[in-house]
Subunit: 439 residues, 2 copies
């Protein structure tokens, strides 16, 4: 048996090993970008002839993490304006910076920087939404990062889309360009019900249905947004989208902080997915999402970091520990969202939300080889009683030493193999200098 890459001696848990209840030393063989075999070390065939072998001894071998919400270009705004009232933050800092500094070049280099940060911290797939998304997708592709890349749609003049009347056309062109790519799955991102008209929302969803792609929308992020929705439409944001007929399995609802039980029932019935961004919701003081109820109702849930403007870090390990702890304190119940469920959200849950359940999220034969190795030989990961607890409560992105995406080794021993990091940091620092120096 030949293979392109063989990972051996690392601890792993795979459905192909049954359920041993804990991680055991095992191997993963990769061929043509897919997992071609995996199992316990004892089952590793003598005759296997790998082109490249990675010894994962002392490591934990896992499916790569899936970050279901980001705006990578906004990495330029990391730490630009924190601790401010929401509207001051948006109107006095973020919107003006976006109006002046978002260019294809900026989106490309910040996309590269975000890709570097995500790969180094164990993310192998990101769902991203912004303007000039083509340049972001190009950066991700070059970095070897898998992405669901969504062109932004909004009813204001936007970077690259000066006339909002063109917004759906721009989305359609973007999707056309990237369809069939093995790493980049194109999609559409309607900003929100309060920045897009009913017509824009329904047309964007219509486009998504035609080409069978994800339709993302920010929803019910703040209490203010919900009050405004009742004022304008006499409906909650969820019921408003239901009325527009845009809720189905291809729709991904970002945030979902302020929902009532009816809203949750409607989402469940529709098959739509939800993405929760605990850190962003906390930092912007948006609120605490009812993550426990999504789980209880078997709604597909993924986790997202949101952008560097509101987090300010793209580390999915940190997002996991925030999600687990926020859900508990929100209801004063320590049993909610146990570690295993949080790890699922960051892997199989995210894959389901993004319509990639058959492709990524699990170490099993036939899936894409999107794999990370966590280095266990660290004081803060000692002792290890249970892997899910370790991943959610003790590990961080910097513990990831190796990353393989679509069968390609993109990071090994903490070194990026696909990105010229000094060049990228230099370019973004130059953009930041221009931003800081003002008009």
């Amino acid at each position: 048996m030949n293979c392109d890459l063989l990972i051996k001696n690392g601890l792993l848990q795979t459905p192909d090993m049954g359920d041993p209840g804990r991680a055991l030393p095992g191997f993963v063989a990769i061929r043509d970008g897919l997992i071609s075999a995996c199992g316990p070390m004892a089952a590793l065939a003598d005759g296997i002839r790998p082109a490249v072998t990675i010894d994962a001894a002392g490591g934990l071998v896992l499916p790569g993490l899936i970050n279901c919400h980001n705006h990578a270009a906004m990495t330029l705004f990391r730490g630009l304006a924190d601790d401010l009232p929401l509207l001051t933050w948006l109107h006095d800092h973020i919107f003006p910076a976006e109006a002046r500094f978002v260019t294809p070049e900026m989106v490309y280099w910040c996309g590269k920087l975000a890709a570097a940060e995500m790969i180094l911290s164990g993310t192998t797939t990101v769902a991203d939404g912004y303007f000039f998304e083509d340049d972001c997708a190009r950066a991700f592709r070059e970095a070897g990062l898998r992405a669901v890349a969504a062109q932004g749609v909004i009813d204001f003049p936007a970077p690259g889309v000066p006339d909002p009347a063109d917004n759906i056309r721009h989305g359609a062109r973007f999707i056309d360009k990237w369809r069939g790519d093995d790493l980049i799955t194109p999609a559409i991102f309607c900003h929100s019900p309060y920045t897009c008209s009913a017509q824009t929302i329904t047309q964007a969803k219509e486009l998504a249905r035609q080409v069978d792609c994800c339709f993302f929308i920010h929803l019910a992020e703040t209490e203010h947004e919900v009050a405004q929705s009742y004022q304008r439409h006499h409906l909650s944001p969820v019921r408003y989208l239901e009325q527009l007929g845009v809720l189905d399995q291809g729709t991904v609802l970002i945030h979902c902080v302020w929902l009532d039980d009816d809203d949750i029932g409607i989402i469940k019935e529709s098959g739509a997915g939800v993405v929760s961004c605990s850190q962003s919701n906390m930092k912007l003081a948006a609120g605490m999402a009812p993550l426990d109820k999504f789980v209880e109702n078997d709604i597909p849930v993924g986790l997202g970091t949101d952008s560097c403007a509101s987090n300010n870090k793209l580390d999915m390990f940190r997002e996991m520990t925030f999600a687990a702890k926020l859900a508990k304190v929100n209801r004063l119940d320590p049993t909610l969202l146990p570690a295993g469920k949080v790890v699922k959200m960051a892997t199989t849950g995210g894959a389901a939300v993004l319509g990639l359940a058959d492709k990524i999220g699990q170490l099993t034969v036939g899936r894409s080889a999107d794999i990370i190795i966590v280095d266990l030989l660290k004081p803060h990961l000692t002792p290890m009683y249970e892997t899910d607890s370790l991943l959610v409560y003790a590990a961080s992105g910097s513990d990831v030493r190796t990353s393989i995406i679509n069968g390609r080794l993109v990071m090994d021993n903490h070194e990026l193999l696909t990105i010229d990091l000094p060049e990228v940091i230099g370019k973004v620092n130059e953009l930041a200098r221009r931003l800081r120096s003002g008009p």
Copy 2:
């Protein structure tokens, strides 16, 4: 001018440079364990002759972080039992494990492991409380970690104190042994008002007053504890301690989640310090402490990780980002606890709470040389507009590359210089194997 150690070329902010509003390239000279000079690079005297020079170019030079609450021995229980109801966790897992596995040897090796984790992640001072604290203090001392080490006092048979009638005597002996040590400041830790009698609490505080040391006590952690206090004493926990006459500047109240405005006023008047442990409070679903009100009332506040049984990590950078974000979402106000205030809590605030305000917490001439260097050349720390934002929202413990405590280089380029890490990890893994294999 001679000095033992010179740090140069790193970015730093020090009161000795006035307030330039941002970090500038500077130097810190260290002699006999103290900061002997610091300032901008331009002010570095030509004739300085350092025994050792550290080039901190590309780094941010900071006072080391102060972890105000830990039980280092409990590092053995990291991930042993998560996501459980509080009483099940305590009575079925933690207490039985403590009864069987807490020995001087266990406390020593877990103290070493905790010291390794803390030093690697930028903590230079820890306040610790447990039984066999002498062995923990020994481990910290050997590791070169500064500590306020407190012998535990509780009205049950405890490890090393089989007869609770001896608990104050044990505390007194411990304090006697360590008084005058330049790294270890001994103290006393009364477990709580619900596990210690009024007599134990007042006697322990009496001892602390006699020897002028810190008196720690867990207080108002859960809603249940407050209800119980009203039932037993017809008083809130804070008013109960006030009535016992144990609230003063030397008293440190750990947790303080469930307080009313009267409680906060009493703490303010008394001069007692407060330690907040956001992650532990969230993971155990204890609640959200009114951190914003402590700040508003100028109550001295430090941050603590609590132990690995309830966090499960000893990274003060993670504790800072949790504190900032939890305070905001708690009140739905993003302006609360801005990054600068959180950094103060983890440095000068912690120093004040521990009675070490004149000794540690700031980079200024005459203070102890407890200094860390954060490596800025990382994608997740790019760009940098403002250092406090970077430290609280983007950095993590693994970004700390160098640590100096009491003038001694204890970690450089992420390598521990005072701890044999493989030995320590091996010893703790062996203890964990015994624990897991059961009776």
